[in-house]
C-alpha cells in the first residue's frame, strides 16, 4: 500500500518538475511575476514530494517491508536499525532516488535564496535544475523504480553486503552525492546567465558559495571512501586509482580550478569564457562519473550493478555538452574581456598556472581511465594503465600544485616586483630548504618525498607568516592583543584566511600522501608465542580464539606489540564469518595502531600447518604518516567552514549593490 503511494508520489514529482521547467522558461522570457511564482511553487512542491518518497522508502526499509523488491534485496531482519536506514542508498534504485532528492533540495534552497532578486537569471536557472530533475525522476520511474512490488512477501531479505556495514560507508554516498549534484547550481546559473544575456559578474557572485559547498562535499566524500577502503577492505591503502575513484576525482579537479579562476573574473572581469567552460566541464564530469560507474564501459572493482540506464546517462552527457557548447558559442562576442595581462609574475599568472595544472591533471586522469576504451577503438586491442601510470603522472603535477599553493596567494595582482618577491619568499623558502636538508641528513632519499617535504615546509611557512603579519599589523593599528587580532583578522576576511586554512589542510594531506613512499609490508607466519618485526615494532603471536555472536563467528588472533622491549599493547586482527548468510561471506577486520608517525596495520589471514606445526598467517604493514591524511581532512573542513560562514557585512554590501532596502539587523 505504502509502496504504491511512494510510486504515485514519484510520478507526481515528475509532473511538478515538468511544470516547473516549463513555467520557469516562460517566466524567464516574459518576466511575468505570476509565472515566476508558480515555477517557484512547483520547485517547492517537487522538493516536498521527493522528501515524501524518500521518507516512504526509509519507512519501508525500517519496517522490513520485504514485499518491496528493492527492500528485499538490500536489507534483512537482522540488520541493525541504523544500517537499515542507510541501506536505502546501498543499491542503484535508492541511490538514484537519493540523488533526485538532493537535487530537489538544492533547487528548493536556490529558489528560496533568489526570492530577493527574481528575474530571468533566477528563472532560467530554475528551469535548468528542474529539467535535470525531470531526467532523474523519469529514469527512476521507468527503469529503476525502488517501489516495485513482489507478488508475495519473502520471509526475509537477502541483506546488505557486510563489507558495506561501516559508518564511513553509511555517509560516504550521501556526501559524494551532495558534491556531484551540488555542482548543478553554479552550472544552472552559468547557463541562465548565457540564456538571459545577464553576463556581468552577478551569476558568479550568486554561485560562488554554491561552488564551495559541492566542492567540499565531493572532497570529503572521497576521503571518507578512502577511510572505508583503508579500514574495511584491508589491502593496506586508501586510494587505488580505480576508475570509480577517478570518476569522483575528475569533477573535483576541474571544480578546484573553477574556484580559483573565478576570482580573476570577480577582480578583473577576465576569463569569462574560460570560467563558463570550466563550470560546464565540471558538471559534465559529474554526470559522466555516474555514467562511468553505472554503464560498465570500464571495468572496476567496485561492485556496482550495471544496468540499462548507462546509455541514458551517455545521452544526457551528450545533451549537456551540445547544449552548453552551442549556447556558449552564441554568446562568445559578449563575453570578450577588455582587460589584458600585464605580467606572468602576478596573481593572475599564478591562477592561470594553477588552472593549467589542474586541467592537465584532469586530462591525465581522464586519459588513464579511458585508455582501454581509446586503445580498443584505435588499435582494436584493449590496453590498460593502472596505479604506476597515475603515480608517475600525478605525483609531479601534484608537487607543482603544492609549490604553487605557497607562491600564488602572495603574488600581487597585475604584477609583482622583485623586491616584494624577495621579502615574501626568502624566509619561507629557506625554511622549506631547511626541512629538506634536515630530512636528507636524517636519511630520506626519495627525491619526490624530499621535494614534497620541502614544499610542505615552504607553504606552511608562507601561511604562518601571512597570519602573523596580518595579526601584527591589525594589532598595532586597532590596539588589539595579538590573539584578538588573529581572530578578528580571520573573521573579517573569511575567504582569504579560510582559504589559507584550506591550503594548510592540503599541505597536511600531501604530507600524508608522501608517507606512501616509505610503506613497508611483509607476509609473516608465526607459531604460538613466536615473534616477528616490522620497522621498530616486534609482534608476538599469543593465540587465537573464536566467539560466536548472533550474526557472525569471530576468529580473533591476539598479538602483543613491543617496541624496544616495552609492551605497547595488544592487537586483535580478526576474521568474521557471516555464518547465517547463504554464501558464508567472510570479512577480514584489520587491526590498526595509529600515531602521528605511522600506522601499524595488521591483517590476520588464518591458521595453517607447517610440518605438523600450527602457524598463524599474518600480513603486516607499516604505513608512515597516514594519520596526517585524516588530520588534513579535518583542517580542510575547518577552513571550508570559515570560508562558508555567512558574513553579515557581505550580505549587506550585496543588498546595497542590488538596490534593495537594508535589512532590519543592519539598521538596528
Amino acid at each position: 500500500m505504502l509502496a504504491q503511494l511512494g510510486n504515485f508520489v514519484l510520478w507526481l514529482a515528475v509532473f511538478t518538475s515538468v511544470f516547473a521547467t516549463i513555467m520557469a522558461i516562460f517566466a524567464g522570457r516574459t518576466r511575468r511575476l505570476d509565472l515566476t511564482l508558480s515555477a517557484e511553487r512547483a520547485v517547492y512542491a517537487t522538493f516536498g514530494l521527493c522528501l515524501t518518497a524518500m521518507g516512504i522508502l526509509e519507512y519501508l526499509f525500517v519496517t522490513d517491508s520485504f514485499n518491496v523488491f528493492y527492500v528485499a534485496t538490500h536489507s534483512s531482519r537482522d540488520l541493525p536499525t541504523i544500517y537499515k536506514f542507510t541501506a536505502v542508498w546501498s543499491g542503484m534504485q535508492g541511490s538514484l532516488l537519493l540523488w533526485a532528492f538532493v537535487l530537489s533540495g538544492f533547487a528548493c534552497f536556490a529558489a528560496l535564496k533568489t526570492r530577493a532578486f527574481r528575474g530571468p537569471l533566477a528563472s532560467y536557472a530554475t528551469s535548468i535544475m528542474s529539467f535535470t530533475q525531470v531526467f532523474f525522476l523519469l529514469l527512476i520511474g521507468v527503469h529503476e523504480n525502488p517501489f516495485e512490488l513482489l507478488p508475495n512477501m519473502p520471509p526475509d531479505g537477502s541483506g546488505m553486503n557486510p563489507l558495506l556495514v561501516h559508518p564511513a560507508m553509511a555517509i560516504h554516498p550521501p556526501m559524494l552525492y551532495l558534491g556531484y549534484v551540488g555542482f548543478i547550481v553554479p552550472y544552472a546559473f552559468a547557463m541562465a546567465a548565457l540564456l538571459s544575456k545577464q553576463l556581468d559578474e552577478e551569476w558568479i557572485r550568486t554561485t560562488r558559495r554554491w561552488t564551495i559547498v559541492p566542492w567540499f562535499f565531493l572532497g570529503t566524500g572521497q576521503l571518507l571512501g578512502g577511510k572505508w577502503a583503508y579500514v574495511v577492505l584491508g589491502w593496506g591503502g586508501y586510494w587505488g586509482w580505480d576508475p570509480v575513484e577517478n570518476a569522483a576525482l575528475l569533477p573535483w579537479l576541474t571544480g578546484t580550478a573553477f574556484l580559483h579562476s573565478v576570482m580573476i573574473q570577480e577582480k578583473k572581469s577576465m576569463l569569462k569564457v574560460w570560467n563558463m567552460a570550466l563550470i560546464i566541464l565540471t558538471f559534465t564530469l559529474c554526470i559522466y562519473g555516474t555514467f562511468l560507474t553505472r554503464s560498465g564501459v570500464v571495468s572496476s572493482v567496485h561492485a556496482f550493478a550495471q544496468s540499462p540506464i548507462g546509455p541514458w546517462f551517455g545521452a544526457f552527457v551528450a545533451l549537456i555538452v551540445v547544449f552548453s557548447a552551442a549556447l556558449l558559442s552564441l554568446r562568445l562576442d559578449i563575453l570578450k574581456s577588455k582587460t589584458q595581462y600585464e605580467s606572468p609574475i602576478s596573481r593572475e599568472g599564478g591562477f592561470l598556472l594553477n588552472n593549467l595544472l589542474f586541467l592537465t591533471a584532469t586530462f591525465a586522469v581522464f586519459w588513464g581511465v579511458m585508455f582501454p576504451v581509446i586503445s580498443e577503438a584505435v588499435t582494436g586491442e584493449k590496453i590498460t594503465v593502472s596505479a604506476p601510470y597515475f603515480n608517475a603522472v600525478m605525483v609531479p603535477i601534484g608537487l607543482l600544485l603544492l609549490l604553487l599553493t605557497g607562491v600564488g596567494p602572495l603574488l600581487a595582482w597585475r604584477k609583482t616586483s622583485g623586491k616584494s618577491l624577495q621579502k615574501h619568499f626568502t624566509g619561507s623558502g629557506l625554511f622549506g630548504l631547511l626541512c629538506g636538508i634536515v630530512l636528507a641528513i636524517w636519511g630520506v632519499r626519495d627525491i619526490y618525498a624530499l621535494l614534497s617535504f620541502v614544499f610542505s615546509g615552504f607553504v606552511t611557512a608562507t601561511i604562518v607568516s601571512e597570519f602573523h603579519r596580518g595579526a601584527k599589523a591589525r594589532g598595532s593599528s586597532a590596539g588589539e592583543s595579538y590573539f584578538q587580532a588573529l581572530i578578528n583578522l580571520t573573521s573579517r576576511n573569511r575567504r582569504r584566511y579560510g582559504g589559507y586554512i584550506v591550503h594548510f589542510g592540503i599541505v597536511l594531506l600531501f604530507i600524508g600522501f608522501t608517507g606512501n613512499a616509505f610503506n613497508k609490508d611483509s607476509e609473516i607466519e608465526l607459531e604460538y608465542m613466536q615473534s616477528a618485526s616490522i620497522g621498530p615494532y616486534t609482534l608476538t603471536y599469543e593465540g587465537v580464539s573464536e566467539t560466536v555472536n548472533p550474526l557472525t563467528a569471530d576468529i580473533v588472533a591476539q598479538l602483543g606489540v613491543y617496541k624496544d622491549e616495552n609492551r605497547l599493547g595488544t592487537m586483535w586482527p580478526h576474521q568474521k564469518v557471516y555464518y547465517k548468510r547463504q554464501d558464508q561471506q567472510r570479512t577480514t577486520e584489520v587491526a590498526i595502531r595509529s600515531n602521528l608517525r605511522e600506522d601499524l596495520y595488521v591483517m590476520y589471514q588464518g591458521i595453517d600447518s607447517r610440518d605438523g606445526k600450527e602457524v598463524a598467517l599474518f600480513h603486516f604493514y607499516l604505513n608512515p604518516l597516514v594519520m596526517w591524511v585524516w588530520i588534513g581532512a579535518w583542517v580542510l573542513t575547518a577552513g571550508t567552514i570559515v570560508v562558508m560562514w555567512p558574513n553579515p557585512r557581505d550580505q549587506e554590501r550585496r543588498r546595497r549593490a542590488l538596490g534593495l532596502p537594508e535589512s532590519q539587523e543592519a539598521v538596528a
Binding site: 523488491f69 528485499a72 534485496t73 538490500h74 513482489l150 507478488p151 508475495n152 512477501m153 519473502p154 520471509p155 537477502s158 553486503n161 563489507l163 577492505l233 584491508g234 589491502w235 571495468s299 572493482v301 567496485h302 561492485a303 550493478a305 595581462y341 600585464e342 606572468p344 598556472l353 593549467l356 592537465t360 586530462f363 591525465a364 586519459w367 588513464g368 585508455f371 582501454p372 586503445s375 586491442e381 584493449k382 590496453i383 590498460t384 594503465v385 593502472s386 604506476p388 601510470y389 608517475a392 603522472v393 609531479p396 607476509e523 607466519e525 547463504q582 554464501d583 561471506q585 567472510r586 577480514t588 591483517m603 589471514q605 588464518g606 595453517d608 600447518s609 607447517r610 602457524v615 598467517l617
Partner: protein
C-alpha cells in the same frame, strides 16, 4: 599582437607540451594488455612471459589453497554470449598474496601477471568483485520464487 602576449602564450604552450609529453609517454610505458579468458586463448602464443591483465569469472569449486593457504590455485572462465548459456574454456591461475574477502566461487576477477609456457597464469595482483547474491537475483527470478507459492 604585443610581444608580451606572445611571450606569455609561448611560456604556457611550453608548459602544456611538457605535461602532455609526460602523460602520453608514461601511459605508453606503463600500458598493459587487457584480455578476457577467450581473447587470451586466441593470442596466447604472442603473450607468454609478458605482463598482462586477465579478466574472468572463478569456476565454481575450483579454488584450492596450497602451499599452506597463502597460495591459491583456481580456474577462471567466462560466460559466452549465446542462448545456451555455456562457458568458455577454463584457464588455470596461481596466485600468492592477500586474498580479498570478495574472492570466492563465481567472483569476477581481474588479474595482473604473466602467462607461463605451461599455460598457467601466474597472478601478482588479484582484484575480485563480489558475485552479489542480490544482483544476480533478478526481479523476474524473485517473482518466480515468491510469486506462485502462497504458503505465507
Amino acid at each position: 599582437m604585443p610581444t608580451k602576449k606572445i611571450k606569455f602564450i609561448a611560456g604556457f604552450a611550453v608548459i602544456i607540451v611538457c605535461l602532455l609529453v609526460l602523460v602520453v609517454s608514461s601511459s605508453q610505458k606503463m600500458a598493459m594488455y587487457y584480455f578476457t579468458v577467450t581473447a587470451l586463448e586466441a593470442r596466447e602464443v604472442d603473450f607468454v612471459g609478458k605482463h598482462i591483465k586477465l579478466a574472468g569469472k572463478v569456476v565454481p569449486g575450483s579454488i584450492e589453497k596450497t602451499d599452506g593457504g597463502r597460495t591459491v590455485v583456481f580456474q577462471v572462465w567466462e560466460p559466452l554470449s549465446n542462448p545456451e548459456g555455456t562457458f568458455s574454456d577454463k584457464r588455470s591461475v596461481r596466485y600468492s598474496g592477500v586474498i580479498p574477502d570478495t574472492f570466492r566461487d563465481e567472483s569476477d576477477v581481474v588479474l595482473e601477471g604473466k602467462m607461463g609456457a605451461d599455460g598457467v597464469f601466474t597472478a601478482e595482483t588479484l582484484l575480485a568483485k563480489c558475485p552479489s547474491k542480490y544482483q544476480s537475483q533478478s526481479f523476474e527470478d524473485m517473482k518466480k520464487a515468491h510469486g506462485q507459492t502462497s504458503d505465507y
